[in-house]
């Protein structure tokens, strides 16, 4: 293809940022004639290159984008399509410092609504709220962006802290993204005034792990808080690498037998048997095979994978290596959401150390198995956690999911047979190898084996990640988190995140197993247990969920792209007591939207975008809608 690029040259900083990632340009005059397979193989560097620009100069300028396109032989329209897809990339000039202030469902329980209001009065409206961010270079006379600005953000995955923010700062050295957590108003104002973001407090994200003596029932959390996340030796001293040794001794077939005996199912939400997934890839005659760790957990209220990545990164590396050995893959990827800079840094460090120590590379622990791992960073898109969208994102495209079949085990990343699991599932595999498949199957209940991580947040005394063997009830989980805060009354629990369902206090006895919540008409989803007490504005919470799905829809299919907008509008009209026609007509509309989104959307986002809203309506959480239809 002939690239037609803007004639404005990229600035030195922009070139340096891109060259820092891609290496120096091959020819000084820029007349590079290379196409075909070599050019296409570079496409996967597109998102990292755009991130390099964003990190260095604070936005993706037309000239910077053109330089990336020239280096990677990507048409600029396509590159712009990618750059304008991700919330952590800006295609218009932006302040050098942008604070993304979480105003999602959990932080709202912690007063995020009031915090954002205070910011609006004291600093001004959030970027993109008053005037749009604009596009391309600033017009002559356009206002120069201020030094710092803020923008409301969907869930940042630091829900146990009650208030979260992410600082994005254009910089030539040091990390461009840093978490603020907790992020009370003063901390945000401090950064907006030019101050250094304070490092996140060493919060105890897993209260069970802080207790002494340590609970022997902790399996996935067994090293959390105990092991030095930067030390491979410490990891080994705490039982690390034993599962990998065992996997190599057992061989792929042996591990699959153990996994089958364990009856482990995926923890990402779909509850698909892990052994079946891995076997489909391992036995696929098409080569090469790939494995992917999905650390893009963006479900509002979910932070378990972040805790694991931050506290036990070597376990993630080891688990992915086991996955590679079993699935016959020599290359793996771990896609980690952009909002987790600390977890990403620790995982990258772990990968580097593992490579140095022969834990990754051509001969794992001296065996004939070879495996290497690449860490990829997301750029602010919930939808990228959907497996086919995740592949597209790694490949350098817009994170748009596609229809299945074909399934990833047949055509996954780069079109190769691919196994993909989320981090919690991967750590379960290590546990299966540690104690054996039958022993794992003995934990939990008949259909739900092993332990499960629950992200307990909201109106509880001690929010955090909790691990329980399957069979624990909702009431027991809330009690472990200290119960409802300061003696308030429980109003509802959101189970499974924004894609999950609200349940009432009558569900406290429900066993949080796959089969138990199914009979209660809910799902476990990503393990979110968000408690809402009687002080929480439930209408506001439901509307925030509707806003979330609208904002995070990729825009590909009509039911989701337009349906999520119409759903939000109908809820706004109900809340304002200005129904179109009658309340019954609005509820009718909402129900039809829910059905068509569930039935006709391409992926799980659209298919679940109305689940929480519908459950809230059933529970009567929306008083304006209590006039029941028909």
């Amino acid at each position: 293809m002939d690239l037609r690029l803007t004639s404005t040259p990229a600035t030195a900083a922009e070139r340096a940022a891109v060259d820092g990632l891609l290496g120096p340009p091959p020819l000084a005059d820029g007349r590079v004639a290379s196409g075909g397979h070599r050019a296409r193989a570079r496409r996967q560097q597109l998102l990292p290159a755009l991130q390099a620009l964003q990190d260095r100069v604070g936005w993706v300028s037309p000239a910077g984008l053109a330089y990336v396109c020239e280096r990677l032989t990507v048409p600029p329209a396509e590159a712009y399509g990618v750059a304008s897809f991700y919330a952590l990339l800006a295609t218009g000039p932006r302040p050098a410092t942008v604070v993304h202030v979480c105003d999602d469902i959990v932080c709202r329980v912690g007063g995020a609504g009031a915090r954002c209001e205070a910011l609006r009065t004291r600093v001004g409206p959030g970027l993109d709220e008053a005037a749009p961010a604009g596009n391309g270079p600033p017009a002559d006379g356009a206002r120069v962006p201020a030094a710092a600005g803020w923008v409301p953000s969907p869930c940042l995955g630091r829900c146990e802290q009650g208030s979260a923010a992410l600082v994005q700062r254009a910089t030539a050295d040091g990390p461009a993204l840093r978490s603020l957590g907790p992020a009370p108003l003063e901390a945000v104002l401090h950064v907006l005034a030019g101050g250094e973001p304070l490092a996140p407090a060493p919060a105890m994200s897993a209260p069970q792990a802080a207790r002494s003596p340590r609970d022997p029932g902790l399996r996935l959390l067994r090293r959390v808080g105990l092991v030095d996340p930067a030390s491979l030796d410490d990891y080994r001293a705490h039982g690390g690498l034993e599962p990998l040794r065992r996997a190599i001794a057992l061989g792929p077939r042996g591990v699959l037998r153990e996994l089958e005996a364990s009856r482990l199912v995926g923890r990402g939400g779909a509850a698909f048997p892990t052994a079946a997934k891995w076997r489909a890839v391992a036995e696929n005659p098409v080569q090469p095979h790939l494995v992917v760790g999905n650390a893009d957990e963006s479900e509002p209220g979910t932070f378990k994978d972040r805790v694991l990545l931050e506290a036990d990164p070597f376990a993630v590396v080891e688990a992915l290596t086991v996955m590679g050995v079993v699935c016959g893959a020599r290359q793996g990827y771990c896609y980690i959401r952009g909002e987790y800079p600390e977890a990403e840094a620790r995982l990258r460090h772990a990968v580097t150390v593992a490579r140095q120590r022969g834990l990754l590379g051509p001969s794992l622990l001296g065996s004939a198995y070879a495996f290497d791992l690449e860490v990829r960073r997301g750029a602010g898109a919930y939808i990228a956690g959907e497996e086919t969208a995740l592949f597209r994102s790694i490949e350098g495209g817009r994170a748009e999911p596609r229809n299945k079949p074909p399934f990833p085990s047949d055509a996954g990343l780069f079109g190769h047979p691919t196994a993909v699991n989320n981090i919690e599932t991967l750590l379960c595999v290590l546990e299966v190898l540690r104690i054996g498949g039958p022993a794992f199957a003995a934990i939990g209940t008949g259909e739900s084996t092993g332990t499960r991580l629950f992200c307990v947040s909201g109106a509880v005394e001690r929010p955090g990640v909790f691990e329980f063997a399957f069979g624990v009830t909702l009431g027991q989980v809330l009690a472990a988190a200290g119960g409802i805060r300061s003696g308030r009354r429980l109003r509802a629990v959101l189970l499974g995140g924004a894609a999950g369902s609200f349940v009432g206090p009558e569900a406290l006895h429900v066993e949080l197993t796959f089969e138990g919540v199914r009979t209660a008409g809910a799902t476990l989803g990503s393990g979110v247990v968000l408690a809402l007490d009687d002080t929480v504005d439930a209408v506001d919470c439901v509307r925030r969920i509707a806003r979330f799905f609208r904002d995070e829809s990729c825009g590909q299919c009509v039911p989701c792209r337009v349906g999520t907008v119409r759903q939000e509008e109908a809820l706004a009209r109900l809340a304002a007591a200005r129904p179109l026609g009658s309340t019954a007509a609005e509820l009718d509309r909402l129900r039809d939207l829910a059905e068509s989104m569930r039935d006709a959307s391409i992926c799980g986002l659209g298919q679940t975008a109305a689940v929480a809203v519908q459950s809230a309506l059933r529970m009567g959480l929306l008083p304006a809608a209590s006039e029941r239809p028909r």
Binding site: P132, D551, G555, C557, V558, A572, D592
Partner: protein, 312 residues
């Protein structure tokens, strides 16, 4: 004529559509099966000459054993599949897709079948309230954020018409985001990649890089995007002007098939003539060489015929 070896006849796969058995060649889609069974299946983003993107979801059908509905246009037929095309679920989803599109996009220049489908599925275009312009300019929308939620009606995709080149006009208030133009501009036909989908969610739109005018983009004015556009969002400049003036009258137009006079390829042209002037040029989709595609000369280089300087 050149002798060509006959291909091996493909194996037939049998499925059932609305209870009747249908045998189609292996690799066929459910849409092929439906059409073979004589069932009119609505499609918007589908075109025979392009790879299906199954984005519009108006062709969804119910397949026994499938949790959700499946897009007929892209799902290959598997032996023994039981397909239902007229169940309550199918009708509801198809109706909602049509209502949602009608609530957000101007559809008055869309293909006439669309009106037929709207009638058949009982879609109420005004069900979600009167269309209102967005609160932010769509071309500058930031991903993951949107303006105030409108309660007086339905937020729609109103956008100023882009009239930035001598050949054709882009009126994205009529765009249903079927991806066909992007495909035609890209690997499916032209390999120019002047346009792509930008933004995300409801703010997703077809755009050049940074919304630069077409003359600054990679566009080569082949007009193959106009050929595939199902809603009239892309139109010859003259057509756009005539429609605005109310002088566009398809019933008065005569289509003349001829051959492009410019080069030796000899692409087939269909000249749409109204009042003795060429107003639009298309090319037959079914032609095995050009598959509906032309270049700038065949598509727009017809002024010399009528020897009138100015607009096409």
């Amino acid at each position: 004529m050149t002798a060509r070896p006959l291909p091996i006849p493909p194996r037939l796969v049998t499925c059932s559509v609305d209870g009747a058995p249908v045998a189609v060649p292996q690799g066929s889609t459910l849409l092929d099966a439906c059409r073979q069974a004589g069932i009119d299946t609505p499609t918007l983003c589908y075109l025979e000459t392009l790879a299906p993107v199954n984005a519009c979801r108006v062709c969804v059908v119910e397949v026994e054993g499938s949790r959700t509905l499946v897009p007929a246009c892209s799902r290959p037929v598997e032996p023994g599949m039981a397909v239902r095309t007229d169940t309550e679920r199918v009708r509801l989803s198809r109706r909602l897709v049509l209502e949602l599109l009608a609530s957000s996009v101007t559809l008055d220049r869309a293909a006439p079948e669309l009106r037929r489908w709207i009638e058949r599925y009982g879609a109420d275009p005004g069900r979600f309230g009167p269309p209102l312009p967005p609160t932010h300019p769509r071309d500058a929308a930031a991903p993951g954020h949107h303006g105030a939620v409108l309660v007086d009606g339905a937020e729609a995709c109103h956008q100023p018409v882009k009239d930035d080149n001598p050949n054709y006009v882009r009126d994205y208030a009529r765009c249903i985001l079927c991806y066909k133009c992007v495909e035609a501009c890209g690997t499916e036909a032209q390999n120019t990649f002047a346009i792509a989908v930008a933004g995300r969610g409801f703010a997703a739109r077809i755009s050049t890089e940074y919304d630069v005018p077409l003359p600054d983009s990679a566009c080569v004015y082949c007009g193959n995007c106009i050929e595939v556009c199902p809603t009239g969002a892309l139109a010859f400049r003259g057509e756009h002007r005539m429609r605005g003036e109310g002088t566009w009258a398809e019933e008065r137009q005569v289509v003349t098939t001829t051959i492009c006079p410019y080069c030796g390829v000899g692409c087939n042209l269909e000249l749409h003539v109204q009042d003795n002037a060429v107003v639009r040029v298309t090319s037959p989709l079914g032609h095995e060489v050009t598959r509906g595609n032309l270049c700038v000369k065949g598509r727009f280089g017809f002024q010399f015929v009528q020897n009138r300087p100015g607009e096409g």
